[in-house]
């Protein structure tokens, strides 16, 4: 029995599992109130990322482009940033935060974004917008490095570095850096903190990504983390960054710069990781874990117990997605006696092979499994189609949807993006309620599959 951690052997990508850094920075930027980013590059780097967010959330998000055309690509394009900042500020009077997100093109031509920000501060902002609070924040996300995960991480770090300001007093709050999650996850995390009676600054408050259709037409989908929230992160009791690779760096920055204690991880997927999260919150704030959460946890375990040894035990699972999500799901599957035989992570990071969670899985896996980094979706499909891999269930996002469809394998959509199932962003994947949702979703998908395939469907009458 072995667990192998290795990088994809092919050079290229057949069906990509992840997108590039600017998309991650854009996802972070829409979590901040009064924030509209300018993506410095070609128009497609914005238009298609906005579409991607729309596919997942069925909402629109405003992000601007510097609209790089041929002349600017050849002669330098910083003037396009100057123009974009002015036009954006003038037409959107509420905008205060303007991240300037670079792309492959503008990194290759070597545009000096810091330089143009300095120039704008001295010029345009000091004159035309002298009465207005405006923050221009360069975010470097060349597309040829990392992935959407590292881009998200880079943006969170850039925002925290820009805003965090130490004042005399501790604000009594906890910083909760969620990583790349859904509105349903933020709702669940806030529920847990409320039960703990803990006041937190959530990076980012994205519950409003799930926005209503109102009689007065007023609703807009956008995050609600404020400038003050971000400034206050330096004065918190402590930081919990749930995802090591999406926001972990920002927590470490606050620790190193302002001595704000920091715990990175674990991603609170499944019962055990949620337990650890609550214990961390309790330690940091001195607040006890209340009876109500003991009960909530009990309900979750009750639900899992109905399913685990009857339906989940020994089921082989393939998992792909963001690193923290994929690792968290693998841990949860092990707790449910399932066999996560293949875990695919879409980018390369030397820390993945050293990640203690992966090392623990390596040590204890009682079956053969592989963890592939820098993976594409062909790593999964090729194993199933051509190399004899048999799996009972796939956990992953919608870009891989043709693998289950063409190979008759049940799949639970989880991660980003999910566009071929309705409303999945609404449901939590974290916390006790997330554990229940994930487990019951897996069970119901397996049940439907048994019925379609007439595979012992009679078993479902009584369990």
């Amino acid at each position: 029995m072995s667990c192998e951690v290795k990088s994809k052997e092919r050079a290229g990508i057949i069906n990509p599992m992840v997108t590039c850094q600017p998309a991650g920075a854009q996802y972070a930027s829409i979590g901040i109130e009064d924030c509209t980013a300018i993506v410095h590059g070609g128009q497609g780097c914005v238009m298609f990322v906005r579409l991607l967010f729309s596919q997942h959330l069925n909402e629109n998000f405003d992000i601007a482009s510097s609209s790089l055309h041929e002349d600017a690509a050849v002669l330098g394009a910083v003037h396009r940033v100057e123009g974009a900042v002015d036009v954006l500020l003038e037409r959107y009077p509420h905008v205060k935060v303007v991240p300037i997100i670079t792309t492959c093109s503008t990194e290759i031509i070597g545009d000096d974004v810091e330089g143009v920000v300095r120039k704008l501060k001295k010029g345009l902002l000091a004159t035309k917008y002298a009465d207005r609070e405006v923050h221009l924040i360069p975010v470097h996300t060349p597309s040829f490095k990392g992935s959407q995960t590292s881009g998200y991480d880079a943006a969170v770090t850039a925002f925290v570095k820009h805003f965090a300001t130490k004042t005399e007093e501790c604000n009594g709050k906890l910083n909760l850096i969620t990583g790349w999650v859904d509105p349903g996850d933020v709702k669940e995390l806030k529920h847990l903190l409320k039960m703990m009676d803990v006041d937190a600054t959530v990076l980012f408050e994205i519950e409003n990504f799930d926005s209503p259709l109102m009689p007065d037409k007023s609703a807009v989908s956008h995050g609600t983390t404020t400038i003050e929230d971000l400034q206050g992160t330096a004065n918190a009791i402590g930081t919990i960054a749930l995802n090591k690779y999406e926001g972990g760096k920002a927590g470490e920055y606050l620790r190193d710069k302002f001595q704000v204690p920091c715990v990175v991880g674990p991603t609170p997927i499944g019962i055990r990781n949620t337990d650890t999260f609550l214990k961390n919150v309790s330690k940091m704030t001195g607040k006890p874990i209340p009876e109500s959460l003991v009960r909530e946890r009990g309900k979750a375990i009750d639900a899992l117990q109905d399913l685990a040894h009857m339906f989940f035990a020994d089921k082989k699972v393939a998992i792909y997605g963001h690193p923290d999500l994929a690792i968290g799901l693998a841990e949860f599957c092990l707790d449910l006696s399932m066999k996560p035989v293949l875990v695919l992570i879409g980018d390369e990071n030397p820390n993945y092979a050293k990640d203690p969670r992966i090392l623990a899985i390596k040590e204890h896996a009682e079956f053969d499994m592989e963890v592939i980094t820098n993976a594409d979706l062909w790593e999964l499909e090729d194993r199933i189609k051509n190399k004899g891999l048999e799996v009972d269930l796939i956990l992953g996002h919608s870009k891989g949807r043709f693998i289950p469809i063409d190979n008759n394998i049940p799949m639970v959509r989880v991660g980003f993006p999910v566009y071929d199932r309705a409303g999945y962003y609404r449901h939590p994947k974290v916390g006790y309620n997330g554990a229940v949702w994930l487990a019951e979703e897996m069970a119901n998908v397996l049940f439907t599959d048994m019925e379609y395939k007439k595979d012992r469907e009679w078993i479902l009458a009584m369990w």
Binding site: S105, K399, Y419
Partner: protein, 522 residues
Amino acid sequence: MPYHTFKCSEMLPDREKHAVIKGPGEDITSALPLGNLNTVPGTITERGCAYCGAKHVIGTPMKDVIHMSHGPMGCTYDTWQTKRYISDNDNFQLKYTFATDMKEKHVVFGAEKMLKQNIHEAFDAFPEINRMTLYQTCASALIGDDMDAIAKQIMKERPGVDIFVCNAPGFGGTSQTGGHHKINIAWINNKVGTVEPEIKSKYTINYVGDYNIQGDCEIMTDYFNRMGIQVISMFTGNGSYDDLRAMHRADLNVLECARSAEYICNELRTRYGTPRLDIDGFGFDLLAESLMKVAMFFGDDCVEKAKAIIDEEVARWKPELDWYAKRLKGKKICLWPGGSKLWHWAHVIEEEMGVKVVSVYSKFGHQGDFEKGIARCSEGALAIDDPNELEALEAMEMLKPDCILTGMRPGEVAKKIRIPYLNIHAYHNGPYKGFEGWVRLARDLYNAIYSPVMNLAAIDISKDDFETDKGFMTRTMLSDPGVPREELHTENMYTGKMDIVTHLRDKTYDFPAPEPKADAAV
């Protein structure tokens, strides 16, 4: 003064002359919006890039091809699975996409070696596919990789393999349109004339500028085939790579989307003398006229067949179109597509569905598209070039449309102000081409406008006095209030199947025998 200035754009001199309201008695000589100019940065434009115009709009609908983008993974990932260009080979081109995964080291030291390895890997993974299109991106253009040279090397190393290179980086042009142009020209320069087709009919065409969205192209080729016309190639919906290399042998180029594909038709005319015939596959009258035009080009037997098709189709579907038209009469719509539909639909949707087109816009159209579109629009219509978020919102507030016909994300904007949207890039439940397709559009429009769900959205339960005696509303209760059930003639609501395309793939056709052509033997 026909130019329209949006309040939200008053401070932008560069946005002057990008919007026009067609005044009473005015025609296109009074004013046209500017088009195809550089975007004003920071406006939150809806435009995309030249790469997506080349790869995503025109290249990838080709069905039997490995579509590979040379650059970081994002360009490929973000555009993948965002359109519905289906095909009759189990949608290979929808299911598989390839990126070379350019990393920092490649940017510094060059990516040609890695590109080569990528191409081999892709052909090795799919031994049944031996055609490839290779797309430049911003990154590979800026580092200056010679993709053509690599493609040539591979074709030498792997006999039987053919590779097409398209150099249309994202920044190459004002919008998608730059990419449309580049891929058209690259295809005719490098691929047309390199394969000789099997001629099966006396009459042959290329069907150009249709991307088989939800099966549009298959509906149209069925008509052509029933008329005895062999479609040598489809550019590019459901199109085969090798068929498209044989475009030079068609008698006629039948052009649908003149915005994205007129370039290749013009080149085929110049280089091979093939005439170009622009048609409209949308709308009963325009489609009937179009089929007749094509038929008349070939001869009487073809005309007879076209007439028979038109008579049969109109008889079958007109009552259903009219049922919807009666209920759509006077409803206001914004016709906000990418390019060509603004003139394809502007007039005929008013004529045949009774709706009023209060606005047209185009993201990447040229002035010529506005010329055609505004000429077909009725009085009072607002035409906008390169619209942005605020202008679109202001237009909707001003015009109060009942539905906007646009893409998914702008549709989400409209939803929040309680205006339903219909996807006319990828369609809701298309295809919308063909006689039956046009009824499907009317049906979708009706379903959007008379949605009992949207009907609930305006009620503020905290303030308003609202009816409490109803457990439901039906669409007809909204469209025909108070009309007795027996007078509704609901039997004339759309009666077609959900899937009207798949069955066409099993059909066989009889063609009039080709006449031996002197040059065909050469």
